[in-house]
Structure formats: structure tokens, C-alpha cells
Assembly symmetry: C2
Homo-oligomer: 255 residues x 2
């Protein structure tokens, strides 16, 4: 069972060496720019799930990379002037600030299409199906966010963040060949991760859950989410030690 750091290095190397579609021509430069940095949390969850299910993490690399590409796609488009108007991302100019708005729109498009190309490298369509469903949920969440029309905080975060975390576990189950009838306990675990990630994100940024519940309240909510995730893992019939480490890491991270 590899450590989260070993899995992170594995996905980082895979993304570094990823061959983009040649037909992208010069557009590839902004796609690579958008892929630099990031903690690779979603990919590591996916690879750790593949390993916990008894399959080599290497088999999960295209799906794990696809998750990171979808995440990067969402950041590139969300940062656009017409949406969140963020000129900075991960301590550097965001894609539109560096490459211009037109190329940034296309960079997001290319990241999404490359993500599906990777997800479709598997023999079964289910990996791609999970990714399409999660992507549509994220888009719906972003719509609710920018239009201020979310029915409540939980719905918003479930869509904007939770979908892709759930898909990190879901895609891994198909990669590892876990039969559908045995997937429920794994998925129950995956469903808890997005909320945990989001609350801790808000604690680090001092917004969202902190504004609504105070810092102590948000910390308590994060601890409850982590406890639920560990409780769910206890029902997964496998060596989930690395997944337990991931929950601890998500709960106590400082960046």
C-alpha cells in the first residue's frame, strides 16, 4: 500500500509526461500552464481507492489524471473575467491573465475534452460516465453560485466540490473492477470527502462556513465530517490505511 505522498508523485510524473493531442497545436501551451501546481487531492484519493480495492495504482493513472484535468478546466473557466474575474491562481497569473481570454476559454475546453479522452482509454464506458455526471454537477453548482440562486449552502457545495470527490472514488471502483453490488460502502465514503475538503478550505480562507458558523463551529463541522468519513471506511472490506491517512490529511491540512 503506497503512501499518499508516493501516490502524489506518481500522478505528478504522469501529468508531466502526458502526451496531449497533437491537433491542439499551440493551444497545448496554455493547457500545460493550467496543469502546473495543485495538490492533486482528487487524483490521490482515486489512486488510493484503486490500491485499496486490490489493483495496482498505475492502472488508475488515466482516470486520476482525468479528474485533475476536469478540476483544472473548472478553475480556468471560473477565473475568467466574466465569472469570478481572478487574475491570480496558485501564486501565478491565471490562464486568462497569462494567455488572454480567448485562449483561456479554449484551454478550459481542451482540458475537458482531454479528460474524456483519458477516461475513455478504458475498455468500459463507466469511468467516462462518472466523469460526465460529475462535470455536469459542477457546472450546475457554478451556475447556482454566480447567479446567487442556490437553495442552500449544502446543495451548492455538494455540486461545486462534492461531485468530483465522489467521482474520484467512483471512477476508481470501475478501474479496479469492483462489482456494482459491492460499491455502496465505498461510495458512502466518497460522498463525505467533498464536504470535509470544503469546510477546511473555508477555515483556511476565513470565508464560507466560517462566516456562517464561526471558526469554532466550522472546525466542529469539519471534525464531524472526518469522523463520518472514517466511520464509512470502517464498513469497506479492504485495507483502507492510505484512505484513512487521506482523511486525516484533509482534516488537518494547513494549505
Amino acid at each position: 500500500m503506497r503512501s499518499t505522498e508516493q501516490l502524489r508523485v506518481l500522478v505528478e510524473e504522469y501529468l508531466d509526461e502526458l502526451a496531449l493531442t497533437p491537433e491542439l497545436h499551440g493551444q497545448a501551451e496554455s493547457v500545460r500552464y493550467a496543469l502546473v501546481g495543485g495538490k492533486r487531492v482528487r487524483a490521490v484519493i482515486s489512486l488510493a481507492t484503486v490500491e485499496a480495492a486490490g489493483v495496482d495504482a498505475e492502472a488508475g493513472l488515466p482516470a486520476a489524471a482525468a479528474l485533475e484535468l476536469v478540476h483544472a478546466f473548472s478553475l480556468v473557466h471560473d477565473d475568467l473575467p466574466a465569472l469570478d474575474n481572478d487574475a491570480e491562481r496558485r501564486g501565478r497569473p491565471s490562464v486568462w491573465a497569462q494567455h488572454g481570454e480567448a485562449v483561456a476559454v479554449l484551454a478550459g475546453d481542451a482540458l475537458l475534452a482531454e479528460a474524456f479522452r483519458l477516461a475513455l482509454s478504458y475498455h468500459v464506458p463507466q469511468v467516462g460516465r462518472e466523469l460526465a455526471q460529475a462535470t455536469l454537477g459542477m457546472i450546475g453548482g457554478q451556475y447556482l453560485d454566480i447567479t446567487g440562486s442556490a437553495p442552500d449552502e449544502a446543495t451548492l457545495h455538494k455540486l461545486k466540490t462534492g461531485c468530483l470527490f465522489a467521482a474520484a472514488v467512483g471512477t476508481a471502483l470501475w478501474v479496479a473492477g469492483v462489482p456494482e453490488r459491492e460499491q455502496a460502502p465505498w461510495r458512502a465514503f466518497g460522498d463525505e470527502l467533498g464536504l470535509l475538503f470544503q469546510i477546511v478550505d473555508d477555515i483556511l480562507d476565513g470565508d464560507g462556513y466560517v462566516l456562517a458558523h464561526g471558526e469554532g463551529g466550522a472546525r466542529a463541522l469539519a471534525d464531524e465530517a472526518a469522523a463520518r468519513a472514517r466511520e464509512r471506511l470502517a464498513h469497506v472490506p479492504a485495507d483502507t490505511s492510505t484512505l484513512v491517512d487521506i482523511v486525516a490529511g484533509l482534516s488537518t491540512r494547513t494549505s
Copy 2:
């Protein structure tokens, strides 16, 4: 063998009744707006290919609709102020002019993700693979166009237009279960359609090929492309009568 008009009505009804992912919430409105109008050329080619290959056109509807969604995605993003800055499309305000830039970015994203959801409703991943490859080619073509960096006219049009026409035939072959070793003559036909469509488009708009070759020169090039497409069809061992009609229709269309 159904006529092109019967196939067009079939895909129109399918798109009208298409259930979008509920998680899109209010974003769905702009997605539907973007799908109104259009000649459904790519979808009809795909359905006619499915029928020529001996399978009911109905089986091809999700793939045919996916092609139209990818086409609509490309129009919505290309029309954005940062790209072609077109405020009108099909005689109505373009999506950004009607719904605002932010929602238009998300509408294009949602169309692309819904297209993959449809393509992934098949049991084999190849339908989605064709779509991903064509989408990446289109994005590369749009990059070459807006940056003025295309090596030549042929490369540009092959990417911007040809890829998706070729995919209309390619996806249909997988839907119809045509074995890979028998696909070559069909694909040779599909490769001719994009160029024919593009030249006639330029004749109708008085730009592109007309500027480069004069109206007579462009007409001659269109006739040659149509002749090559018919010649390719002659090598396809099937009843290709509707596909022959499509070539005639593409060649002589007036809108």
C-alpha cells in the same frame, strides 16, 4: 431507408425531448436556447450512415444528438466577445447576448459534458473516443484561426469543420457495429464531407474559398469534393442511397 428529411425530423424530435441532467438547475435554459435551430447536417449524416450499415436509425440517436451538442458547444464559445464577438446566431441573439457571458461560458461547457454523457450511453467506449478526438481537433482549429497561426487553409478547415463531419460517420460505424477492418471505405467518404460543406458555406457567405479562388473556382472545388465523396461511396458495400442524397444536398444547398 429513410429520407434525409425524415432523419432530420427524427433528430429534431429527439433533441426537443432530450432530458438534461437535473443537476444543471437553471443553467439548462441557456443550453436549450443554444440547441434551437440549425440544419442538423452532422446528425443526419450519422443517422444515414447507421441505416446504410443496416441498423435502425433510432439506435444512432444519442450519438447523433451528441454531435449536434458538440457543434452547438463550439458555436456558443466561438461567439463569445473574447473570440469572434458575434451577438447574433441563426437570426437571434447569440447565447452570450441573450444570457450574459458567464452563463454562455457555462452553457458551452454543459453542452460538451452532455454530449459525452450521450456518447457514453453506449456499451462501447469508441463512440465517446471519436467525439473526444473530434472535439480536440476543433479546439486546435479554433486556436489556429483566432491566433492566425494556421500553416494553410486546408489544415484549418480540416480541424475546424472536417473533424466533426468525419466523426459523424465514425461514431455511426461503432453504433452500427461495423467491424474495424471494414470501416476504411466508410471513413474515406466521411473525410470528404467537411471540405464540401466548408466550400459551399464560403460560396453562400462570399468569403474564405471565394476570396482565395473566386466564385467560379470555389464552385469547381465544391464540385470536385462532391465527386470525390460520391466516388468514395461507390466503394462502400451497402445501400448508400440516402448518403448519395446528402452529398447532393450539401453540394446544392442555398442556405
